[in-house]
Amino acid sequence: MNPRAWVCCLLFVGVGLLPQRVSARAPAPTKSRTEAPADPSPTALSTVVAVVKRDLGQLPPGVIVASAPFTSDVKAPRAAALRLRLLQLVASSISRPPAAATVSRLVGATAAARKRGLAGFVWLRPEVRAGRLALTAEAYSVAATVWSRAARPGATLLRQVHAEARLDAQLRLYLTPLRIGEPRVEKFLGADHGIVALACGDIDADGRSEVVSMSRRRLLIARLAAGRVVREHDVSWASLSGIAPVPLREPLGTLTLVPRDDGPKMWIDASLSDRGQSVRLDDSFSVIATSPQRVVPFGSGSACVRMKSMYLDPKLSSCWGGPVVGLPARLPLRADAVASARIVRTDGTSQRWLAVRGPSGLRLHAGATGYALGQAGAQVAVGDLDQDGQPDVVSTRDVQQPRHDKVDVRSIASSGLVQPRFTLPVLAGVDAVAICPVDDAGVAPVVLASGGEIWLIR
């Protein structure tokens, strides 16, 4: 191996060992208190690297990897370190042995490849924009002989691939930390009344998040634009399922968006206690599968439970057949509201968090570790709003009068300290709440449904 490549590798190893940035909001992270094994859920870094590797395909043996300087629409104090980290990861995934060059211009990469007598190189263009890590990878070949060099003096582009992934805590370490401050609220009219569940995500992989709402009548995919909820698709519950033999007087509904195995789109898992069947739908509301059990969110996927005495039975099982990591499992208590998210930690591992509301209040669990969050309403969401690797819980108040309702956002530090972030009164009451994926440079937005409106809270 070229000694210079060893230097670069050593450089990468060194980068990898740099101490993690300590959060200003909580004590330095200690050994994780959770006992749940981290299951292999992809991080943003691993996602883009895997896509690049897959899409570049077969490369000439002995390519080197080089990268343009990192560009970002947010402040990135450790941009150079991120660039080197990406370089290392891509290099180790596509070339044996890993070979990277620390040049910062394409012409320099061409020269470096020629100098080493290599057939080509891969040029990376990393970027952070609109809440995503975007990585463009270009595979070039270089002329091997003097004569071919004379004919083709520069490098020849063989392939260009692109990969994107939303920012997570592991990436946020390299960027300016976010702070959950006072909320900014945008209201959108024209939502359905009586919404019982909300979800938010890029269902159709078009690069924009959609809002999915579920009322007792229908499911609706909509965009939020110009102060209006703009309908894209809808489907009536009557066309999906008959009425349940024993419905609940007060409906219990869940909406879960699940990444598909066969592409970037998402499944919509919907469950309503009024209806006999829970359904898995695609982005055009075609029914993919049905289940007589209730579907609840479970990490980045979903799980099924039965109703028992007007509550969700704690026993979780797979909904749609096939094994699911972490199942079978149990909710920590019998519940009437469940939220879940798989949150990437700063070290690149991830953890499944479950927020469960039962008769004794709201609890947040990851593995054997649990936190009691007191009394809360039946609308709850969990996610990592500020990408610090720790869960943030969005909950409402346990009130009967809508005018007393409020949204509470709290963060749970690695020490277990529960830190209130903000409280927002919602005079018409909160019908449903969800956390949207990061879509810009700021904190992940929260959406809520209230009396025919959708609120977007940033």
């Binding site: 007792r216 008959g242 349940a244 007087r249 039946a378 609308q379 009130v399 009068q401 019908d431």
Partner: protein
């Protein structure tokens, strides 16, 4: 008669939208309500037009196939959709998976049996709305009932009435069974309601309720005031109002009426019963009846000394009968209130073989026109059926005591579901069935 399309909501949707989603926490589950009231507790018959227990408690135990929302629109409650016309015949298809509180599967055979049972009882008067009704089970679908050439809208309207709930085929009034939020156990001195795990429109929020039979109109008020009960029937306390209790008034579920039989001879003429009733100062007697307005002059009882019958088992009927007897009696024209065993009373009533009686009549909740038909059913079934079968069934709402001019029935007052509820309970009114929405009572 047909209802416009916009008076119906989509099939299967309204069944579960009767109550808007408004609570931000979820309604607490659990608790047991305690109350007592002055009615018999040993039998309940929803097909009986004259059963006060069915009027006050029916919505807790039974469901109708169709129901009305707060705007009066009909929606399917136990059916899979609104009645449809297929090949010139109207059909109803029930929802699948229905079970009664005892776990018995319910299908179209039970709907057919319910119709037949109602026909043989006093509720059957209102089947005259559908003279062409011919029912049979669909041979290819156990959930579908074929009803003949009847108007679908009229059929749905009829099946909204609490007189026509869906009952399991083997219904026994002493062991009631239905699809409502509660399962009922009847004893001589009490009714025990327990959450029905098979409730077709959702189980109750409460674990249950205990309703004791009271011997007079003051027991409930006394028990409520002393905090032994959670609901005060007809008031907020006997001597003083219970602290922090809230009044409720959920409207009228029927009427106490005075009826004249053939043994009253000349005084059994149409209209006389109402004049007699007008002479009773119900408004000042604290009989638990809503005051009547616009009363015309009454007349005293001028017949021979006689008995005023009331059905045994109901303290409210007894109190009303005793007070009526006292008010209408005069020297040489005495009236003595006398209880009569239910089976014997039914025979006497059918044959009009009595002089005076006090009884209860339910509001069929089919519209103002149906009130007169219900009152007429006390007089003569055939007269009631004639009223029901008239093509025009629109009538302005008028006080019931002004509808009896040519009936042998006099309205003493409306039985109103009102009283007091203790702090810590939420008790809503039933949107369509009248009275208390038992299944939606919950703790605060």
């Amino acid at each position: 008669m047909s209802l416009s399309r916009r008076t119906f909501v989509a099939a299967g949707v309204g069944a579960l939208i009767a109550r808007p989603v408004e609570a931000m926490g979820r309604k607490p589950i659990g608790g047991r309500l305690r109350l007592r009231w002055p009615y018999a507790t040993d039998a309940i018959d929803p097909h009986d037009l004259f059963d006060p227990l069915a009027a006050c408690l029916g919505t807790a135990i039974f469901n109708t196939v169709y129901a009305r929302d707060s705007r009066g629109r009909v929606y399917s409650a136990l059916a899979a959709g609104l009645p449809r016309q297929e090949s010139g015949e109207t059909t109803i298809r029930l929802r699948g998976g229905l079970r009664s509180a005892t776990g018995r599967r319910i299908d179209a055979r039970d709907l057919l049996t319910s119709f037949k049972r109602a026909k043989g009882r006093t509720a059957g008067v209102f089947l005259a709305m559908l003279p062409s009704l011919r029912m049979r089970i669909d041979s290819s679908d156990a959930l579908r009932l074929r009803c003949g050439r009847v108007d679908p809208a009229t059929l749905a309207e009829l099946l909204c009435s609490p007189l026509f709930p869906l009952l399991p085929g083997t219904y026994d009034p002493r062991r009631p069974d239905g699809t409502g939020g509660f399962k009922a156990t009847l004893l001589a001195d009490r009714i025990t309601l327990d959450r029905n795990g098979f409730a077709a429109r959702g189980s109750s929020f409460l674990d249950g309720a205990t309703i004791r039979s009271a011997s007079d109109l003051t027991s409930s008020l006394r028990a409520f005031e002393m905090e032994r009960d959670d609901l005060g029937w007809l008031g907020l306390g006997l001597h003083r109002d219970r602290a922090k209790a809230r009044p409720f008034d959920f409207g009228d579920v029927g009427w106490m009426v005075l009826t004249t039989g053939d043994r009253a001879r000349a005084l059994a003429s149409p209209g006389v019963a109402q004049q007699l009733a007008n002479a009773v100062n119900v408004e000042a007697l604290h009989l638990g009846l809503r005051p009547r307005e616009g009363l015309q002059r009454g007349m005293p009882w001028l017949g021979e000394p006689t008995s005023l019958y009331y059905e045994q088992g109901s303290a409210h009927l007894r109190v009303v009968a005793e007070r009526v007897a006292a008010q209408l009696s005069s020297r040489g024209h005495e009236i003595r209130a006398a209880s009569i065993e239910p089976a014997r009373w039914r025979r006497l009533r059918k044959n009009r073989d009595y002089s005076l009686a006090v009884q209860f009549v339910r509001d069929p909740r089919l519209g103002p026109w149906a009130v007169r038909a219900a009152l007429a059913a006390v007089d003569r079934r055939r007269l009631a059926e004639e009223i029901v079968s008239r093509k025009t069934r629109r009538a302005p709402a008028r006080p019931a005591h002004l509808l009896t001019a040519n009936l042998r029935v006099g309205v003493l007052g409306a039985l109103s579901v009102r009283g007091g509820i203790a702090a810590g309970w939420h008790m809503p009114a039933h949107v369509h069935g009248g009275g208390i929405d038992w299944s939606n009572i919950h703790r605060l």
